[in-house]
Amino acid sequence: MPCRLRFANISKAFPGVLALDDVSFDVAPGSIHAVVGENGAGKSTLMKVLAGAHRPDGGTIALDDETVEIADTGHARRLGIATVYQELHLVGDLTVAENVFLGRWPRLRGSGLIRFDRITEETERLFASLGVSIEPRAMVRNLSIAQQQMVEIAKALAVDARVVTLDEPSAVLTPHELDRLFDVVRTLAKRGVSILYISHRLEEIFALADTVTVLRDGRHIATRDVSDVTRAGLIHDMVGRPVDQEFPPRSVAMGDVRVQVMGLCAGEKVRDVSFEIRGGEVLALTGLVGSGRSTVAKAVFGYRRATSGTVQVDNLSGPFRSPREAMRAGVALLPEDRKREGLLLERPIRENITLADPGVSVRGGLLSLSGERRLATELMATHNVKADSSERAARTLSGGNQQKVLLGRWLQRECALLILDEPTRGVDIGAKVEIYEKLNVLAGMGLAILMISSELPEVIGMADRIAVMCDGRLTGILDNSTRSVSQEAIMNLAVAHQS
């Protein structure tokens, strides 16, 4: 069998961690090859080694049976290795064509003038070959995320590519946009380009890839034909043990209505949203990215100004004008983007876990650091945060442990309504189940829980009712007491206004 790309015994160590440990596998020409694994499995490191961003400590890479020493990212591109990272690296204030040729603008001979005619033509040609229609002279800032991703792909292909790596490309796309992306990927593969497709979402792997490689703890576990594997088998390989219950069941007697949101509006993003949540109930709020779910959460929490409508939590009525006011009513919010909105990454766990209420450790007018340390250690034990000391910087924790620190921060307070925005994004399967179990316990204690999530299996597996948003409006609330709502039913509501 011909081999486009061969990883042979690749190892890479960072201080304290062996990120890649003797990894070997082959990628065939024109193959769509998925690479899966939990966080920290080594996927990103492997991609960076291939892209020339990291030098491997040991092992070799061969392209079309020729061993290559990739010196740097520029060298990798010249070799025909293109990488599309999860975060888009585009300049919003330049045009599409300028971005596609970023840093490699063809010049009018002997001058610094860019040949705009050339880059526009070439960009048009690239888009045509991908079956995409984007105006090359448009400002990137004005494009949708999906279009920007296509620009990123075109940028990668502007150099003739033999291997294209796509790192979690689907995270921000709607189902329709995802179909288009799949079409583009298949077009590329048909032309003989090999695709390395990194994703968390197993559904996508079954829909798109022909081969799948599993990494775990930096080691290569298996490379198989997708037709030979099952979802459970893949999860088993990724986690290293069977996961029998992805979504632990919950039997909670629901109490009275604790939260009532009526006609909530917040600018253009949220229009006339109403729902209620009982004590002990988990209400999921889902919909496409950008449908206004997170804005609802922030408006209830007083971080975004509600332009009209009311919010009632137990006996206190809002809309709350600041997070402090909402907190006084017992509202807690675990934000979507833990690193940007939740954690003080460079500060110790102790300061992070006590941030919502540092005053509890005040003794005689001053913060008692020993008291704080004791409290933090206690909270870490309660919420099963794995770290050797409360003085570790939050940055050093895994996604799951970071989420548990945030849970600890909020659950230390008296809480009536807990809002979780994408609570398991970027969290390992093992830690996910722990978070679900925690949710069940909290519901059992009578809290009202609002869970925002894009992961439909999670929504269906965990929620009592499912509220769906589209374009800032609530398009429906589905009863899910038997955990049997179909994904199609949710998607129909999620695109209700668009078709």
């Binding site: 960072f14 961690v17 907190m327 954690l343 003080l344 460079e346 300061e351 941030l355 540092p358 913060l367």
Partner: protein, 324 residues
């Protein structure tokens, strides 16, 4: 992930590098110059440092929030002139009363200007650099306007004892004030909810706001505090000179920022200590003084000071990379 392999001794040396450098500097200067190691000179070094250090403690808080205050040098002039004018306007009052009222007015003006900058920064989300640049120009302008461009003299004689006097015959008054301010601000930053909020805002403003911290109010407070401390330094400086001079305090903002940076506080915010700033101020003071005693030209002193600031930042950047 990486730090567990570092030997505790190494970790201590790294953490205490600036105090160690200070001690080494003092020892080297003492060995090479007899004049340096006299008690009078050592006290003189600390006294020279004290005015800017008082401001630098406040500036540390500003920089830890991720901000900057360029107006402090002009504020020294403005508050000093205000205090002098007030004192001169009370010729019939007892000197103690005149000095008390004059100083209070100077400090209040400093705090008021600082609070105004802080509120503009917090409310309109304008970069602190711009707001305090405007404040710097306006404060300097008003310092000249209110005294007609002529330094204010004819102050009560007792004012000299505040700026240039000694407590117990040994400790200069400004040094004592500096130590008191140091203790207070250090405690505020490390041991109060307010100080914790300051660090949280500098570390991640959005996360701080979403945890219920009043970001705007906290920011306004740190500029108010720094303005007040610039006022305190300004009025004491007026005492030292026996005049309210609108020309004083030129470039002080940069010396103050230098002390904070050499003390290991990150200009990106979220990281810094008041003790570090004290050490930073002393390092700069010792360097200046010993170079003076060695007869090094002023031009070269500037080169050395610039190099020290650069090296301190490079060491900081290098260590941060190692930690990752």
């Amino acid at each position: 992930m990486t730090r567990q392999h570092v030997h505790p001794v190494v970790r201590f040396l790294v953490a205490a590098r600036m105090p160690i450098i200070l001690v080494v500097l003092v020892m080297a200067a003492s060995l090479s110059s007899e004049n340096f190691r006299t008690q009078a000179n050592l006290i003189n070094v600390v006294r020279q440092v004290s005015f800017e250090a008082i401001i630098a403690f406040g500036m540390t808080l500003v920089i830890v929030t991720g901000g900057i205050d360029l107006s402090v040098g002009s504020m020294v002039a403005l508050t000093g002139v205000v205090a002098a004018l007030v004192m001169r306007a009370m010729p019939d009052a007892s000197p103690v009363l005149a000095i008390g009222v004059g100083f209070a007015c100077g400090i209040a003006v400093g705090a008021g200007v600082g609070a105004t900058s802080g509120m503009v920064i917090a409310t309109f989300a304008i970069p602190p650099f711009i707001v305090t640049l405007a404040g710097m120009l306006m404060a300097r302008g008003f310092a000249f306007i209110i005294c007609g461009g002529i330094a204010v003299h004819e102050l009560p004689e007792q004012v000299l004892s505040v700026g240039a006097g000694f407590v117990g015959g040994v400790i200069p008054v400004p040094v004592l004030v500096m130590l008191l301010v140091y203790a207070a601000v250090a405690t505020v930053l490390s041991r109060t909810v307010f100080g914790r909020s300051v660090v949280a805002i500098g570390s991640n403003e959005e996360a701080a706001a979403l945890a219920g911290i009043r970001v705007g109010r906290t920011k306004a407070m740190v500029y108010l505090l720094t303005g007040g401390l610039a006022g305190l330094a300004g009025v004491m400086h007026t005492g030292k000179l026996m005049s309210g001079d609108p020309n004083v305090g030129e470039m002080w903002e940069l010396n103050v920022i230098a002390a904070v940076v050499v003390g290991g506080t990150s200009l990106f915010g979220g990281r810094g200590t008041v003790t570090g700033t004290l050490v930073g101020a002393l390092i700069i003071g010792v360097l200046n003084n010993s170079l003076n005693l060695m007869g090094v030209q002023q031009f070269w002193q500037n080169v050395v000071l610039g190099a020290v600031i650069l090296l301190a930042s490079l060491a900081d950047a290098g260590l941060r990379r190692l930690e990752r």
